[in-house]
């Protein structure tokens, strides 16, 4: 698969991130691809579900496992072994572990995540961290990275306007300097 294909799938993930933003959620979106087609796509639903763990990846995984046409082998230990994930932001430590437990084939992401990144930014759950059973997987960042960053910034700008007390002036000044990106098309 060449780089254009990765960008094509990542664009689909970005559409999900846009949907999250429109719903007032942290704008992260993902698609799971198997045999050249999307088998599941999802976005963050943490606010709606009052659950800080309902990240896009886990939402999509639940759809895949609930669908018998996608996980035909009953009780299969690694239902994602022939599936690739495209997600706009590096999977967090929780999702990175979930993906490894399900035997994900490979992961492509947009931008890194300095606070929670589980594919190397904070902890290398995908590869470096040893696991007695589950094999490691490759995670590659940088696909539509700028788009992923800009949509997060757009979210923060909105949020900041709602914040009761802006914490620091420096923060505020920097925020206004950020140019919103053009919508993906």
């Amino acid at each position: 698969m060449d780089s254009n294909d990765h960008l094509k799938w990542m664009k689909e993930a970005m559409i999900m991130a846009e949907e999250a933003l429109a719903a007032g959620e942290v704008p992260v979106g993902c698609v799971f691809v198997r045999d050249g087609r999307i088998i599941a796509k999802a976005r963050n639903r943490t606010n709606e579900l009052r659950n800080a763990t309902r990240h896009a990846e886990l939402e999509a995984i639940d759809c895949i496992i609930a669908d018998e046409t996608l996980t035909p082998e009953i009780g299969q230990q690694y239902p994602l072994s022939k599936t690739t994930l495209y997600v706009t932001v590096e999977p967090c430590i929780m999702c990175a572990s979930a993906l490894r437990q399900l035997g994900i084939q490979e992961v492509y992401y947009g931008c890194g995540n300095e606070r929670f990144g589980g594919c190397g930014s904070v902890l290398g759950v995908n590869e470096e961290l040893d696991h007695p059973v589950h094999k490691s997987y490759k995670a590659t960042g940088g696909f539509r990275r700028e788009d992923a960053i800009m949509i997060l910034r757009r979210f923060y700008i909105t949020e900041n306007a709602n914040a009761p007390v802006p914490r620091s002036k420096a923060n505020r000044v920097l925020k206004t300097e950020i140019n919103p990106p053009s919508s993906p098309h």
Binding site: E48, A52, T53, I74, G75, C95, E114, R115, P164
Partner: protein
């Protein structure tokens, strides 16, 4: 050391992955690899022969079968055919197995790469009916805690409950009395001291000058002040180093070397890496001071929160209930014996409408969803309850941080957190996924019974709340092996993600 057991060839046996039966003096028949087998290879799928509960009670358990059978659903027992009954025990094992209830079979999978000639072993559980033939070859990181009821496993479950229904040892006494750290039924895991190894110490290049005549030091200190080089940026370091007979003075971190008064005839200043911060611990102090004498500012340790006897009794009951749920999950639903429990906070006991209790067992088998772990389910129950009550959503400050300028933490304040002030009880140390879910949910403290040294995210494989970068810390307590909550043995294969 034990002498290597001698092996004699066993009967010829056909197996897809080339496993052979060989006979050892120590352990009798066993399964051996005839070639390299990669990790995660299914080496055998053994069909099983099932015995009904009654049949087994009346007959099977009085026979040699009792040494080979696996617990199946509905109280049935299963005898593995094929290679299944020939795997010897090892802790840690190199083969894991999973029961395929639907197909009446057991699947055996390699847990790591296996080399030619190696024996393939499974983990039988902690209640062995025999003495292992040889000590575990690994240097065990955690000594096996003897919980004292190994012999009772032969007693039926009902009797066992009766005999071993352990009373709460903290039930009596002054509920307000502070329990000493030693009398707590659990150990508080302490964060590893920071900067313990030389590699992790951060340094900066600083100008240093040797001062052959120590009488010049006073003059030089005055000069530093006049030159404006006595700012706070090097305040964590001592200015003067006396090393053997040589006295040196720390000057600055400026780009160019400062020029000390020329009349002192000092040698030229030179650059030296010095620590960027004071030492918080004694090991760190000695490492840092080896670079340059460093100030010691032990962090004022957060006084551990005291536990009253009443709260300890509450925790004991909560853990007992958690284990009860785990046992039930195994006996009634053939699930892994893992459960998580979020009781109403102890401090809520006098509240008119305390939060409900949430308790969940692992359901990965019945739901055929490998991620239906007890902790994640308990968190979800609580979230669903909050959603149904129209309570505030959790904060967004778990949003990814892509650059410091857009730190979402700074943009929000005053939100309600999902598990703030909640103590989370769980029978086994949660896996990386669940530990991070607990961190995302802002749990206050996690108390677990059995550590999972290979897969756990609360001190086993990693310790997530102590990682640099994460934006929440929670306290971790590990139940002491000597403090019994129930007679149930709920230990599991150490390679499982809890």
């Amino acid at each position: 050391m034990f002498p290597e057991p001698s092996l004699s060839p066993g009967p010829h046996h056909l197996n897809r992955t080339g496993c052979l039966i060989k006979i050892s003096d120590n352990t009798g028949r066993g399964v051996y690899a005839s070639q390299f087998i990669p990790k995660n290879t299914d080496i055998d799928i053994s069909p099983v022969l099932l015995f009904s509960k009654q049949e087994y009670e009346n007959h099977g358990r009085h026979t040699v079968l009792d040494h080979y059978t696996f617990k199946w659903t509905e109280g049935r027992m299963a005898l593995a055919l094929g290679l299944g009954s020939l795997f010897n025990h090892s802790d840690p094992p190199n083969v894991t197995y999973s029961l395929d209830i639907r197909n009446d079979s057991i699947r055996y999978t390699t847990a790591r790469n296996i080399h030619e000639g190696e024996e393939l072993c499974i983990f039988y559980g902690h209640n062995l009916w025999f003495t292992p033939a040889k000590p575990s070859s690994q240097t065990c990181s955690e000594p096996e805690t003897d919980d004292g009821w190994g012999g009772l496993t032969v007693v039926g479950d009902d009797q066992q409950d009766e005999i071993m229904d352990i009373p709460n040892p903290y039930a009596d006494g002054d509920t307000e009395a502070i329990t000493s750290e030693e009398d707590l039924p659990f150990i508080r895991l302490k964060p590893a001291p920071e900067e313990e190894d030389a590699q992790s110490i951060q340094t900066v290049q600083a100008w240093v000058v040797d001062v052959p005549d120590p009488r010049h030091i006073t003059t030089l200190l005055k000069w530093l002040k006049q030159a404006g080089l006595d700012g706070p940026e090097l305040g964590h370091l001592k200015r003067i180093r006396k090393h053997d007979d040589l006295t040196s003075l720390l000057l600055s971190t400026t780009a160019d070397p400062p020029q000390p008064p020329e009349d002192l005839n000092l040698p030229a200043p030179y650059l030296l890496p010095v620590p960027t911060s004071a030492a918080l611990t004694l090991p760190s102090l000695s490492l840092k001071s080896a670079l340059w004498p460093t100030m010691y500012t032990p962090r004022r340790k957060d006084e551990p929160e005291p536990w009253t006897r009443g709260k300890v009794a509450w925790a004991w009951n909560a853990m007992k209930r958690t284990v009860g749920a785990a046992t039930k999950a195994r006996l009634e639903n053939d699930e892994l014996p893992i459960a998580a429990h979020i009781p109403a906070p102890y401090d809520d006991r006098t509240a008119t409408s305390p939060l409900p209790t949430f308790i969940a067992a692992d359901t990965r088998r019945s739901t055929r969803h490998p991620l239906r772990h007890a902790s994640i389910i308990a968190i979800r129950q609580m979230a669903d309850y909050r959603a149904s009550q129209g309570l505030d959503p959790p904060p967004d400050d778990d949003a990814p941080s892509v650059d410091p300028q857009s730190d979402p933490k700074e943009t929000r304040n005053g939100s309600n957190y999902l598990l703030t002030d909640q103590t989370f009880f769980v029978t086994h140390e949660p896996c990386i996924m669940c530990s991070m879910a607990l961190l995302h949910s802002r749990v206050k403290e996690v108390i677990y019974l059995h550590p999972m040294s290979k897969t756990g995210g609360c001190g086993g494989s990693a310790c997530l709340p102590m990682l640099k970068g994460v934006n929440h810390r929670f306290t971790i307590f590990q139940w002491k092996g000597t403090t019994k909550v129930t007679a149930e043995d709920i230990r599991i294969d150490p390679t499982i993600d809890v």
